[in-house]
Amino acid sequence: MSISLLFSHFLFPILFLTQGIQEENIPGSGRGEALSARAANYQIQARLDPQARTIRGIGVITWKNLSNQSVDRFYFHLYLNAFKNNRSTFIRENHFDPLWSRVREPDSSYWGYVQVDGVEMLGHSMLPAPGAVKTEYVQPDDGNSLDQTVMVVRAPIQVPPGEVARFRIEFTSKLPRGVSRTGWAEDYFFAAQWFPKIAVLKSDGWNAHQYHRSTEYFADFGTYDVELTVPASFVVGATGRRVSEQSNPDQTKTVRYLQDDVHDFAWVAGSRLREKKRHIERTHFAPLEVTLLLQPEHEHLEERHFTAIRHAVRYFGDWFGEYPYPTLTVVDPAYGSATDGMEYPTFITGGTHFWAPRSVLSPEGVTVHEYGHQYWYGMVANNEFEESWLDEGINSWAEARAQKHAYAPSAFLRRFFGGIPFVANSVRIPFETSSLPNLRADGTADEMVRPGWLYKDRASYRVNSYYKPELILWTLERLVGGKRMLRVMQTFQTRYRFQHPTTADFVATVEEVLGQEMDWFFDQTLFSSEVMDFSIETASSKPLPPRIGFFDRNGTPSYQKEKPAQKAIYWTEVVVRRLGGIQFPVEVLMVFENGEKVRHRWDGNYRWKKYHFEKPSRLKYAVVDPERKLLLDINPVNNSKFVAGNSNPVPAVWKWASKWLFWVQNLLETLAFVA
């Protein structure tokens, strides 16, 4: 029997039994002012066995019934069971493809699960004695009986509103090979969704969903007090601040993390991580301690990570209020671990390539994005299962906005030969509209506000969670102005910090701050699958012919035949069309050759609108939405039109055609190489 087996089978339980769960550390007991309701509080002791890739843990969950109903059934998420076998709902929704894309038949080390070894309901005034409870798996979303990601604990008593229930749960988590945000890669262990996690009890009952391919999470706020025992040589990072670290005689160490007012706890441990620390000054709080855990081959990117965090802390703080937690840990994930670009409270993962050109915003983009989730998901904690746009969409907008203030747009990048970057510095990816191609491709598959697992497919989930809401918010900002938009978002953030707002709360906040009813906007965007596409269909301008025929003179038809005028008057016609389903009012600008500009506002209701002018100058071009306020417009190229006959030859066409010609010549010559 190996030492690790010996430890895991005998010594570990004994250690727990002797240490016990220290009751004086029950959260919410005087460690500062509570920022949240602290309904779900966890005290966990866990031990990582790097050989077996398992975590054995004992957790005491102190849960407060904040609803107005008594309950004797308690729902727990066992997210890790999504990777237990290929019949879980998660894998089934991925067409039975287990996601380890490079492996045809993953062996047992690839799969992961969380096994609940025992559940007890601890002392309660209504319990005759601490008692075991019954558990069962349920499948509230799809009835897949083989899915074990939601467990129900049946207690022998009812827990009335306002009362507290305490559960002691022993569990063993076998980490999967890095997959979809969690798992191991070599000696890198990223533990996310690794422990039994109680669901949220709402006024209409438990809100518990199975783990789906296209959903994230939802949980109550609380205090997490977690002790992690890992090999002594491992560097550890986790949610919250490290309050203690002690060496154990068995070549391990135990580190304890504590954090109030968060709704999840994730951690990482590995021997290759390099720990870097900096402090960032704040106005209302002590300096923020930022810990960066870098892969050694990425150490040269340390400064870029910290600069990105500094920008993010500044802009998010200015716009939405200061980040209130004392720490932030940023993890540069191990290669191939599939744990990049993810957010957990006070703990985020980035991701980059060792060969990272400066003009390409990686690692900056992902770092700013995941930091932004501290606000949108972390503090404003919407239900990610049911309304994923509220965090992903809002955060995508906020992240792009912060990046726009901090950086020049990212340059176009393509990697050749497995990683050598080709950077086109003259081609910049605009922050606001980089999502448009996705909206064009998948924007009509679903109405936007919809539970994550009910979207048509993963592409639709991504469009409706990230891209479309981002473009909606950019459009809203351009319509109402930057200052008013920030006021809206500040209000929403401030009002719903440490709560669980819904789309209805967001809409109400927008209407309240803007002082106007916004159904016309939201009905067509949030609650619709229509797209927006305005275009200039035709733009023509020709000289008016001389008058000829009978024209009334003193009430009598009189024949006239004018000579051609020396200065022609032009008859201009512009037809604007609405090709998409969204009906927004829109500006139309006509620019004449003499410099005159005529601007009209079209309500956009009917399918088209025709404009006529008689002017002493030819029309040069017409453009709909000239300031490009409507970033939802999926085709900005058809928004303008030069008058026919005014467009040949077009130098830009020949410029790019000649480059293409050169590209083809080189390709042909290279292919000729083989023969």
């Binding site: 290759r272 050694p296 060969w355 030969f417 080709f422 081609v427 605009p430 064009r440 190229v637 292919l671």
Partner: protein
């Protein structure tokens, strides 16, 4: 003889056959132009009357490009910012090394085959002229050489293609599988990249050597007037193995010249402002100068390799492109070729 001397002789040979470069260049331009017409039309449709034409004159607009790509299909959908700078070289080389040319649009593949045939014909014409008319030829003679050797050069081309296909299936594909396997087990992205880089480098090396052998196959086929493709190939293979350092050294030297030429192109292209007709025309001219230079380099290489063959192969004396050769002997030979056709070919090789 030093490799640079072969190069020098190759240059002199090339200078005597400038028309070969012109033929190669015109075929490159015309074939590529055929593939440019669809893009030209698509660009005209997209930009012709839109305000984006102003933006696109200054720079590639990302929004526009993504929309253009979404709406395009087939060949035109391959238009991307990689047409800029050194992108064309990287992309075409990657297509070659990744064997992804099989996934290219049919129109491009068909035109590529056509180009191979044309290129093969002009290679035959060039090598024939180099071998038998080192002092230069008329256009008619040049084309006659091409038609005389084209058949065997096509067969060599087919053999080379078959070799490439076999290598792709037997060597490159397993290498790709191995690379994936190793990358999957790599502990970090540097190692993962290294596996890719090693794989690409090995594939490139194998292709270079293979290409070199087939170059000598063509040269031997022309110089020794061999009709058997297989025997020419075996003879070339023997030569390359026997004198690997000389043959491959010369190859690498020309490759270095080619790489330098690419870098010069990239630097100059970057400096040309392309926001007016003048700049656009200037950039186009520079691109075409580059292509002509690239093709010239290819022919220079053939010339140098031919000199190397004649130097190394005992039965045949090297062609000496001294002034007197051009002035007297070769002039005689050229004259005899004009009069007597094939009967003068063999004697010329043993002229010295």
């Amino acid at each position: 003889m030093l490799r640079r001397n072969y190069l020098g002789l190759g240059i002199r040979l090339l200078l005597q056959h400038k028309k070969a470069v012109v033929f190669f260049y015109l075929s490159s331009l015309l074939v590529a132009a055929v593939l440019t017409v669809p893009l030209l039309q698509a660009l005209q449709d997209s930009l012709g009357s839109s305000l984006y034409r102003e933006t696109l004159l200054r720079r590639m607009d990302y929004d526009w490009w993504r929309l253009f790509q979404d709406r395009a299909s087939g060949l035109v959908a391959m238009f991307s910012p990689t047409v800029l700078g050194l992108g064309p070289f990287a992309e075409s080389l990657e297509i070659l090394l990744d064997r992804s040319w099989t996934t290219l649009p049919r129109s491009l593949l068909a035109t590529g085959v056509l180009y191979l045939l044309i290129s093969s014909f002009f290679t035959a014409a060039s090598l024939g002229s180099f071998a038998f008319d080192p002092a230069g030829t008329s256009i008619r003679e040049f084309l006659l050489q091409g038609s005389r050797l084209a058949g065997r050069f096509f067969r060599i081309g087919i053999l080379a293609l078959a070799t490439y296909v076999v290598l792709a299936a037997v060597v490159f594909a397993p290498m790709g599988t191995l690379e994936s396997y190793l990358k999957q087990r790599a502990s970090n992205d540097v190692i993962a990249f290294s596996w890719s880089f090693i794989r690409y480098s090995l594939v490139l090396l194998i292709l270079l050597v293979t290409n070199m052998v087939f170059d000598y196959t063509k040269i031997k086929s022309a110089v020794e007037d061999r009709t058997s493709v297989v025997l020419s190939f075996l003879s070339a293979l023997t030569l390359c193995i026997s004198y690997f350092s000389s043959t491959f050294g010369l190859y690498l030297l020309v490759l270095a010249f080619g790489t330098a030429w690419v870098l010069v192109y990239g630097a100059v292209e970057y400096l040309i402002p392309q926001q007016s007709w003048m700049g656009i025309v200037g950039a186009f001219c520079w691109q075409q100068i580059f292509i002509a230079g690239r093709l010239g380099l290819k022919l220079l290489f053939y010339g140098s390799q031919m000199q190397l063959v004649l130097e190394l192969e005992k039965p045949y004396r090297p062609l000496k492109l001294r002034d007197e050769v051009f002035a007297s002997q070769s002039a005689t030979v050229t004259g005899s070729l004009r009069e007597g056709g094939d009967q003068s070919l063999q004697p010329y090789i043993r002229l010295q």
